[in-house]
Amino acid sequence: MNTLLDISGLRKAYPGVVANDDVAFDIAPGEVHALLGENGAGKSTLVKMIYGLVQPDAGHMRLHGRDYAPTSPKDARAAGVSMVFQHFSLFEALSVRENIALGLDEAVAPRTLSDRIRTVSRDYGLPLDPDRLIGDLSVGERQRVEIVRCLLQDPRLLIMDEPTSVLTPQEVETLFDTLRLLSKRGVAILYISHKLDEIRVLCDRATILRSGKVVATCLPRDETPRSLAEMMIGTTLADPPVRRAIPGRTLLKLTGLSLPTDDPFGVTLSGIDLTLRAGEVTGIAGVAGNGQDELVAVLSGESPVEAGMIRLDNVPIGTLGPNRRRSLGLLSAPEERLGHAAAPEMSLTDNTMLTGRVRQRLSTQGFLKWNVAANFARAVIAQFDVRTPGVDTPARALSGGNLQKFVIGREVMQKPRVLVVNQPTWGVDAAAAAAIRQSLRDLAATGASVLVISQDLDELMEMSDQFAVIAGGRLSATRPAGSISIEEIGRMMGGGEAA
């Protein structure tokens, strides 16, 4: 078999951590190659080296049989390597064509560029109008812009970092068709994802990283999601116990909740009705940017609404701020860990104080009891297996999964009556995700009500007792879990009503 990219002995160390150690694998032309691994396993560092964003400390890369050592993404693109990042780098106020022009290495006349965009997008089944503003596009369309930007440079290797985390099931299918077409035309694809099912469907081969080393190369079609996950984490996984709660009395009730947005790219919430009962996990699915962040802000108290729109134990609380709601037992964990759920530069003790002060009585007369806060932080760390040198470590220094365990643990251990979590396992490795889901289920089993907002349908299907879909700032009626198919949910996520 001929080889497009051949990597051997690649090593990269950062202060305090070896991100990649003696990594070796190869990619053939036209192959869809999966890169699998837990968070912190070294996937990002590896693709950054291939894309020229960081330089290896040791080791060799060969592309087309020639030595390949890019010192910048520009080098990489010139050699035929392109990358679509998980987080898009697009200017919302500019048009598709302008955004693509900004990412090109050479200047192209606007009209020529528009023609080329149309040609490429037609060839690969990626419909795109060059003159539309990015701000008006859906997330799936924005991703197309990123892909077309790469394809215009005629790459031989396309790196995709978690491309489906923001897409509806239908959009995922479209993306896969495009990727298969590219593969048929000889473009190799290096595909990074946490979603093991997708990898089994799409990828020809998989390289699995653990702690910076290659631990296995396999044919994903011959594996089960479970065996892949076990290779990633190096242990065997326990099945989640099946649990169907008998819902208790109503704790939180949203009635006609509406909130106009003053952000030009925000989402207006309109007419949301929802009832959360004791002992129940409620799941809300939806494509990112359909009002999830706004809904969480309304529930946490960051965005006040009319008093009667939110009732806890039938008491109107819509106008109360976050701390008043915490004292009543309504807690929340926003999606963005660094900067929203936690202050990145501050220690874990400080971050415990951030949300735990009221409910855990970490202050008297406004004076803070730092010892008690540190003890509570230690308890969270112990109970939720947060890997950190200590409670004085800044939140920024924790890996994504560990910080998420801390953030969820901090709220769960305050014994909330209602807990709202947004994307509890986003970007979290399989073992940590399982632990987080288990803790949320355990919380519900104690009689609390848990609201999980997520883009991971499998997660919602596994966890929820009742289920709703948010699209365009409107929430569908809740349905009992198990009474609704993935296809139906997909249509609802795309904005269509359920049949």
Partner: protein, 362 residues
């Protein structure tokens, strides 16, 4: 080859090491500057940094100069931590002095123990009011507090000139633009007889109050929820909102607090060393305090040390002007260099320097 390598966590050693390095770098660069001016650099640095400490009279003056710097810088440090940039402490200092002086003059001749506290309250109220203008405009109209507070300095300066030339002018002062000399009850008592001070000391009650405020500010910052909220606001505004902090109240509190302390410092200046309201009262303390706040790492204890260092450059600078004929501007350049080096060296807090070829860490 020299490279900068990011640290895993900010270095605590360097956090407190860089101010010291900045002072040393300033001495070296200042020495070069003085050498170019044809002075003996060692003698000049000695005159500025060491002589004032050895001479008991200069040592007293050190405290007199440091007190307003420390007072103002402590107020500013709260705002700077929260990302509220009050650059107009000088203006709040001036209106504090005017209001306090006006109260003192209104009760001219009244001998009473309540007069000084009343003047202090007036000074703080005026400073707070002056700082509330940028606060209100920021919260209500999103106006930049840096510009508004800075521009209000010049308004305050003109107000001072109008006051000493008009309503507050000394009726028996031959039309000179200055107020009466305050009577005894309106002048801050001197701390004569305190151990360590000279017989003719100018160290006044305000210095003691500034000293007492240092630990209080530290407690507020480290042990109280308000100080915590201020720090979260500056470090991660969205996390602060999530935790229940209202950004507008932080803007009002930080500007109000720094305005009150700057106003108090103004009152201490007018009722202390000056003893009357004169147009030359503002000496730039409000601006120098910005350097003091950063040199002291926005930490009250650090600010106390930084205030003393900065006072040293004032006193030593004056001595250097007298003894060595150094130009006044050279001293301002010297103080500016201190902030310049501090901000430049701050990179060492987040990065470490690696010498030699690119190697493999650990």
């Amino acid at each position: 080859m020299i490279r900068l390598e990011p640290r895993l966590a900010p270095s605590r050693t360097m956090m407190w090491g860089t101010p010291v390095l900045a002072v040393i770098a300033t001495m070296i660069a200042g020495g070069i500057l003085f050498a170019i001016l044809g002075k003996n650099p060692v003698e000049a640095i000695w005159t500025i940094f060491v002589d004032p400490i050895l001479d008991p009279y200069s040592r007293d003056e050190l405290f007199v100069k440091a007190a307003p710097l420390v007072l103002i810088a402590i107020g500013l440090s709260f705002g700077f931590r929260a990302g509220v940039w009050n650059i107009g402490a000088e203006g709040q200092f001036i209106v504090g002095a005017i209001a306090g002086a006006a109260v003192g003059l209104a009760f001219y001749g009244t001998s009473a123990i309540w007069l000084l506290p009343l003047m202090a309250l007036a000074g703080m109220a005026a400073g707070t009011f002056w700082a509330m203008i940028p606060a209100f405009l920021k919260v209500r109209y999103n106006a930049n507090e840096i510009l508004v507070s800075l521009m209000l300095v010049y308004v305050a300066d003109q107000l001072l000139r109008a006051m000493v030339a008009g309503p507050l002018r000394n009726p028996a002062g031959f039309n000179f633009p200055e107020s009466r000399l305050f009577h005894d009850s309106a002048v801050l008592p001197l701390l004569q007889g305190m151990p360590g001070l000279t017989q003719y000391t100018r160290v006044h009650l305000g210095v003691l109050i500034a000293l007492i405020l240092v630990p209080l500010a530290w407690v507020l910052l480290r042990k109280h929820v308000l100080g915590f909220n201020i720090q979260v606001m500056g470090s991660a505004p969205r996390a602060a909102r999530f935790s229940g902090v209202r950004p507008s109240s932080i803007v009002y509190i930080c500007l109000g607090l720094s305005g009150a302390l700057a106003g108090l410092a103004g009152l201490f200046e007018v009722a202390g060393p000056a003893g009357q309201l004169v147009p030359a009262l503002p000496q730039g303390y409000g601006f120098t305090a910005i350097i003091v706040a950063f040199l002291g790492r926005l930490n009250p204890l650090g600010i106390l040390a930084a205030g003393l260092v900065m006072a040293l450059t004032y006193i030593g600078g004056e001595n250097a002007q007298l003894d060595l004929n150094l130009p006044r501007a050279a001293i301002s350049v010297f103080q500016g260099m201190l902030l310049f080096f501090l901000l430049g060296l701050d990179i060492l807090v987040r990065y470490r320097i690696r010498f030699g070829a690119r190697g493999i860490a650990q």
